[in-house]
Symmetry: C2
Subunit: 499 residues, 2 copies
Amino acid sequence: MKTPAYDHLTATYQRLHRLGHLGAIAGWDQAANMPAKGNEARAAAIAELAALMHRMRTDPALGTEIERAEQENLDDVQRANLREIRRDWQRATALPDDLVQRREIATSRCEHAWRTQRPTGDWAGFLANFRPVLAIAREQAARLADASGLGRYEAMMDAYEPGMTTATVDRVFGEVRQWLPGLIQQVVARQAEQHRAEPLIDPVGPFDVERQRWLSEQVMRLLGFDFDAGRLDVSTHPFCGGVPEDVRMTTRYSTDNFLGSLMGTVHETGHGRYEQNLPRDWLGQPLAEARSMALHESQSLSFEMQIGGHPGFAALVSPLLREAFGEQPAFAPANLRRLLTRVKPGLIRVDADEVTYPAHIILRYEIERPLVEGEIEPEDIPALWDAKMMELLGLDTRGNFADGPMQDVHWPAGLIGYFPCYSLGAMFAAQWFGAIRRAVPDLDARLNAGDLAPALDWLKVNIWTQASRWTTDELAVRASGEPLNPAHFKAHLARRYLG
Amino acid sequence: MKTPAYDHLTATYQRLHRLGHLGAIAGWDQAANMPAKGNEARAAAIAELAALMHRMRTDPALGTEIERAEQENLDDVQRANLREIRRDWQRATALPDDLVQRREIATSRCEHAWRTQRPTGDWAGFLANFRPVLAIAREQAARLADASGLGRYEAMMDAYEPGMTTATVDRVFGEVRQWLPGLIQQVVARQAEQHRAEPLIDPVGPFDVERQRWLSEQVMRLLGFDFDAGRLDVSTHPFCGGVPEDVRMTTRYSTDNFLGSLMGTVHETGHGRYEQNLPRDWLGQPLAEARSMALHESQSLSFEMQIGGHPGFAALVSPLLREAFGEQPAFAPANLRRLLTRVKPGLIRVDADEVTYPAHIILRYEIERPLVEGEIEPEDIPALWDAKMMELLGLDTRGNFADGPMQDVHWPAGLIGYFPCYSLGAMFAAQWFGAIRRAVPDLDARLNAGDLAPALDWLKVNIWTQASRWTTDELAVRASGEPLNPAHFKAHLARRYLG
């Protein structure tokens, strides 16, 4: 059977994949290597490529080819790929070029100014740049909603989390909201009592950067990262970039504290292994891409939280810490494990532990959704922020803009609809480990013995190599028997922190 | 005055410059960073970009725009840019796509096999792959000659050295050929006598790689390299890559020998400063590109030979060697200078000193020119090689293919017509320093006092910032009062090695 229209589409996406490779490496290099004076030329080069790829992805001929390909005799895998191609084409063509350009200008300006406004908490200055960003985001949401039939916030979220509905997020976050503040109080009280009985011992620095690098690479190897198909380098803001065939992870080192960098690297290694294990047969096609941001986050959090907070991980890493930095009482497995599961409500999302993290996300969701839907205005944010921080975490944030609503890059960068993915990812991770425990009844004994293979193999088979073969709901059902169910996350936290 | 056709051309070349930026960084990364498993995807990505840029450069509409732009009211600078654009378009369109593809396949195969055939000196195996490479090179030469009116070898050389004629190369190399073997004998005898009187002291290793890196960076700073607009990294084959706004130099370190790496870095720094000082106002246009390969080599050899072999350089670097590796008798300025100007006929071109180097180039020119013009066949190479090595350098190379005609990557890679640029560059470098001595009569005293500024400033004003504003002859006349004149090279060698 000939499938000329489908073949033409896959050839176009193969070309996009190859050109995207150059943009990914140039972006990584910009963060990890590039000297200051290279920035203007680099930004222009990346923008030129992005414009070229945008023109390729919005070529009207592609729309016609998609219609034709729908009529061709495709197998199930091809049909799934066509579903993803259609989705990509619809999203690429939904926004007029002038809106994309206006968004680029407004978010660049807002994000650039935010970098100096945040330290001084200049909320008024921030609002002047954020209002146009929000106006464009509302316009974008309205257009995407019209084109897709989704709600406005839902349509924004769909860019990161295809198929996710606000009904589901409302239900899931609403449920978590009921028990989370109580759980946090219980855990904090319980840990305070434990620490009185047996004081927590902090590691004593300084920690040599070269030794930290060695440690990070050792731990990445334990977690199965393939250094023949990727690297670990340094950048100001750690990320996992590059391409599936050559994953470029970054971290940053502080001589005062190695644990933050190490667990950041463990987190990014989850992203990295997902990318390294995307199916090679489909590579270059939308089908071969990671399913969604929540699924991606479910992998980084499987590594950082599900594995990283397990007693088996502390036992595995403890001898490496001694080898890296010498003998310290803090490196005893039991103490290390308590360091890695310490719960402490705080102002900053990115520093939050796994118990308090969802409070930060629920708060942002409850603000950005009405914001983009026009129900509230930017002026309303501080009062809402203060009330919700008190309600969810018991913290007084009044007047603290820098560590309050100005702390994240997402809003100045126009990334509205992204925040829910972080906590949906944490919930998926707990759900995967529930499934792994059913499949491997002695999982905890295996992890305690330092054997990560059962967990990593399950993730490889059920998540990484599935890429975008299925919708998220289908993937969750195939992997774990049910769609997203936050009960697993609740059970995980209760067992780990109250068990 | 409106110049719509010219403006359209400059916009196209601006886009090519931006896209080329991504290819340059990806190519540098491939050599300096990329893990092994990334290679296939990287090669595909770079090839995709190259094909895309080739389509842009051969768009028939460009030919029409060039004709139209010729009729527009352009100033002198615009007209020079149009001259370079026309040249680029003519070269890009002279070869049919199928020839370019066949060449790519043949040279890839030959170069790949050569990497394993060279160590064993498998000449017969090499010939099997080299014959198709040569057949395609001859076809290419014939087509380029037809399109340009140049001779066949000349047309090949024109890719690297625009405007250079075989008449000039014949005249210049013919002249050098007369006096070079005699000079080499004289210098070798003289140095042997000096070494008997006062033995040369070799540095004693091992030399720590981190200390070597520090040393290289210090010397690059002395030579004016801007580390805010470039980097030094490590690769198997050192090169100067990246883009003018962000120059990526590489080197390699051996713990046995630091001088080779250091002087290689000095050489590449000459290329690097040329690139870093190309005129910013024209950047993105062909006018702003380095003039030619010989001009580029004239800069790397100005640094490595003209400056690096000067007593002032040994005096400047001597304290840095002590700081890097501790006190050693070999690091005394007088001994160091003798190490840096030691002359020794040898089999390998890339290891040759500045006195014997032209012999290697003349030999290759006298073989590759009749080869591409069909006057000799590949089977004839070994006998010619042996005869010329004996005649020029007094060395017996019979039966040694690995360190004989198989030693260079140029022939397996199809880079025929490139070799002359190396020695033309050495001659231009001597000519520039002749001009600098006339402009700065106390140049040697300044260099001996460690002041490199007069030499570097002259090169910046007269060569680097001129880019492709003038033809090579015009540039040479403006800079030094005459076109290429090998008398300066002869005078330089006589003064340095017999003075």
